[in-house]
Every structure is written in structure tokens, then in C-alpha cells.
Symmetry: C2
Subunit: 222 residues, 2 copies
């Protein structure tokens, strides 16, 4: 499913170059559940953004389901993203001033899902994350952990084949975190590929494989 | 230092009332280090915002250093906040498009600290959180954990007597988190009062006392 070879990525800030990924080789088969760990600033979010087709690479090759990503045009990539990939951002990226249920509904509007089916799926997704009683709250009327759970519901609502999640339980207490992880494990057993960044080892334990990043390289992988 | 008695707080959403704190009694002496834990949505951030004079109560009494908070006017409260209280927000609240060093400098501009002293304190604060090499980055050019560390540096730069921190290590890997907590412990030993929300028990272990919230009441306190 995911084939990354010799991936190099640096940010450019004016005339200063900030190297982030310095030669990443990573293969992830369809149906795997992989955790990515590493120190703050080591390139985890940058790697996830590349895997989720939200950012580009400077060197190397990225093949997603057998096709080179950098040769596809923007419209093709947008279609791949909206139908195949669900993304949970580290800082949620909810749309301010619209309710939790509208935020969750949004990806289905892009995918042309009919109205009645959208309403049903929103209800199911918010139930799965324990927030049916907060459906009408806008992001500023939700706690940090509740906003994170809305972001998780939004990522799952289109039943993606690949879930890319950046510290999905970072704002949750341990028992709410365990409930979310049990749901992820269930989705993985039903065939969803999950790639998740976490800094908590008891969360990484839900995955079957852990990849450790250090200074933009893979330190170990097992 | 902090005396909360029978604190009640509810949010009003149109004609719907959302009760959050349902009668909180809490005394915190000067120099204490207290952790607050509890499920997502249980009122931890709301309680911290009240303690930090960022939000108001509906019923009950709040005395900070012997003075009733609700009888002070806005200008007096703003002066108390900017000179005595440092705040680390759960979602950082950095000012976008200005650099890390400018974000850290901001509280000192409000407190009329002279230019040369400000530059020196910014350098010290960013060194303490391990980010001297990211001083010129704006928030979107920093990782999640780096943004959190800028928020911590900003909260400490005015040497407050009271530090109010909402999940200060939520976006940090465990070893960076431990470094930040060792710094907090050092500051507490030098006399700073610290009140910190966390959902990780190994972080709460740095405090000397843990208060557990459930459905807007204190479940236990030891
Ligand atoms: N402006 C608001 N309007 C209505 N309800 C609100 C508002 N802000 C917060 N709430 C509700 O108040 C409750 C307490 O929120 P609070 O942010 O204090 O929780 P918390 O304990 O910090 O949770 P977390 O661990 O998820 O950060 C939540 O159920 C939330 O939905
Ligand atoms: N737009 C940018 N311009 C310059 N540097 C950037 C930019 N975005 C990120 N960086 C730098 O790239 C490095 C990797 O960032 P990334 O967000 O991938 O880290 P991370 O492993 O996710 O860290 P964290 O655990 O703190 O979230 C960091 O050192 C950061 O300062
Ligand atoms: Mg990150
Ligand atoms: Mg909170």
C-alpha cells in the first residue's frame, strides 16, 4: 500500500534550510496498524503529512497503492484523499464557528454523499466517540478532548481505507483514550490500514508495529 | 493563596444551560504544587480559567491572596494577571505570524520591562525549554511540541508567583516531558505555586497533591 524510498524533505525559511527527513525507507502493507514515535521535532508530523498526500517531498519516491504520488495532478490527489484517506490532525483543524455535526459532515459533502445518508453517518460517528450530547456545540464550546474526538469522528465518516492519525489521544484522559484505541483496533480488524503518531507507549501498544524516528531517520522498526 | 468556596459555573448556549462546575471547594496554599485530573469534559479547563482570573463564576466565592476576585474591576484584574500569574493554555494560543521570541517577549512588553532585559529573559526562557535554534520560527513553522514549549516559556518569562498550566506536556514525548517537569519542580522549590491539569499519572506524580474532578465536583483530593 505505502512504499517510501529514500525520502528527503527540508523546509525553506528565507535563505535558511531546515532539514527534517534525511532518507526515509518505509513499506506499510494494506491492513497494517503502525505506530510512529520519536522526540518532539523529529519529523513525525512531516512524515504523516507526506503519507497523507498533504505535503510534497524534495527527493526519493513515494508509491501509494502502486502509483507514484508525485506524478498525479492536484485534482487526482484531491480525489484520492477525499475517498481513501482519513486524517486526524495533531491540532485538530476543526472549522471554527460551525457545529461539531457540521464539521463531521463536511468530508461527505465533498464526496457527494446524499443528505439522508450524511445525517445518519454523522449520528453514528458522534455516538462512536461519545459526543451525541455535544453535536450542536461549535469548537469554542467544546473542551480540548471533545474537539479531538470530533476530529476523529470527521476522519472516519467516509469509511476510509487508510487512517492517518497524529497523536489522536493526546488531549484525552487514559480511559477515554483506551475507548478510542479499542475502536481503532476494531476498525483495523475489519481491514482499515492505520498509521498513528503517539508519544505514549501504552497507546503504541495497540499497534502491531512501532517505527521510531530520530533526527529525520528511522532508528528502529519492529 | 487560593480559596474557592461553593463555586458554581454553567455555560449558556442560547436557551440551553450547560452546567460545568457544581459546587467546588478548594484551598491551595502559596508554594504548593497541585495536579488536577479528570475525564475529558469534566470541567478541568473551566476550573483553571477561573483560578487564573480568565473567566467568571455564577455562584460561590473566590479569594486570591486574601482579596475577593469578583469585586475587583477589569483594570485591577489585568494588573494582577500580568504581574502575578503565568498561564499555559491547553491549545497554546500563540500569536500567529510572529516569531517564537516575539511571542515569549509579549508579556514583558505589557509589564513595561526595558528592552535589554526583555532580550536577555527571552534567550534564557527559550534555552530552558530547549528551543534556542527555533527562536525565529513562527508558530506554523514549529512542531506541536515545540509550540507547546514556546507557550511554557512565555508563561514563565515574567517570573510569576502562580503558574497555571493546562496539560503542559500533552504534546511532548516522555523524555521532553520529564525535562519540563524537572524545571517545574525546581521552580516550585524556589517558591512558585503551580496548579497543573494533566491526564498522565506519571506527570501528576511530580506534584505533591492530586485533585480529581468528576462531573464538576471534586471526587477526591490527596
Ligand atoms: N463556551 C461553552 N459553551 C458551552 N459549553 C461549553 C463551553 N466551553 C466548555 N463547554 C463544556 O463544558 C464542559 C467542561 O469543559 P472543560 O473544557 O472545562 O473540560 P476539560 O475537563 O478541560 O476537558 P478536556 O480534558 O477534554 O480538556 C464540557 O462538557 C464542554 O462541552
Ligand atoms: N514550515 C516550517 N518551516 C520551517 N521548519 C519547520 C516547518 N514546519 C516544521 N518545521 C520544523 O521541522 C521539524 C519537524 O517538525 P514536525 O512537526 O514533523 O515534528 P514532530 O516530530 O511532529 O514533533 P512534535 O512531537 O513536537 O509534534 C521541527 O524541528 C520543526 O521546527
Ligand atoms: Mg507533530
Ligand atoms: Mg481541558
Amino acid at each position: 500500500m505505502i512504499e517510501l524510498s529514500n525520502i528527503v524533505k527540508a523546509y525553506q525559511m528565507g535563505d535558511v534550510k531546515v532539514p527534517v527527513l534525511n532518507g526515509i525507507d518505509l513499506r506499510i502493507e494494506s491492513g497494517e496498524f503502525v505506530a510512529i514515535m520519536g522526540p518532539s521535532g523529529s519529523g513525525k508530523t512531516t512524515l504523516l503529512n507526506i503519507i497523507g498526500c498533504l505535503d510534497t517531498i524534495d527527493q526519493g519516491e513515494y508509491k501509494l497503492s502502486g502509483k507514484f504520488v508525485d506524478t498525479q495532478d492536484d485534482a487526482q490527489m484531491a480525489r484520492v484523499r477525499s475517498t481513501h484517506i482519513g486524517f486526524v490532525f495533531q491540532l485538530f483543524n476543526l472549522i471554527p464557528r460551525i457545529s461539531a455535526e457540521r464539521n463531521v459532515e463536511l468530508p461527505m459533502i465533498y464526496a457527494n454523499i446524499p443528505h439522508q445518508q450524511r445525517r445518519e453517518r454523522v449520528r453514528q460517528a458522534l455516538t462512536k466517540v461519545g459526543l451525541t450530547d455535544r453535536a450542536r456545540h461549535v469548537p469554542t464550546q467544546l473542551s480540548g478532548g471533545q474537539q479531538q474526538r470530533v476530529a476523529i469522528a470527521r476522519a472516519l465518516v467516509n469509511h476510509p481505507d487508510l487512517l492517518v492519525a497524529d497523536e489522536p489521544t493526546g488531549s484525552l484522559d487514559s480511559s477515554t483514550g483506551r475507548e478510542i484505541m479499542q475502536m481503532f483496533r476494531q476498525l483495523n480488524e475489519e481491514g482499515m490500514t492505520i498509521i498513528m503518531v503517539t508519544h505514549e507507549s501504552d497507546i503504541a501498544a495497540y499497534a502491531r508495529r512501532t517505527v521510531q524516528l530520530l533526527d529525520g531517520r528511522i532508528q528502529y522498526d519492529h
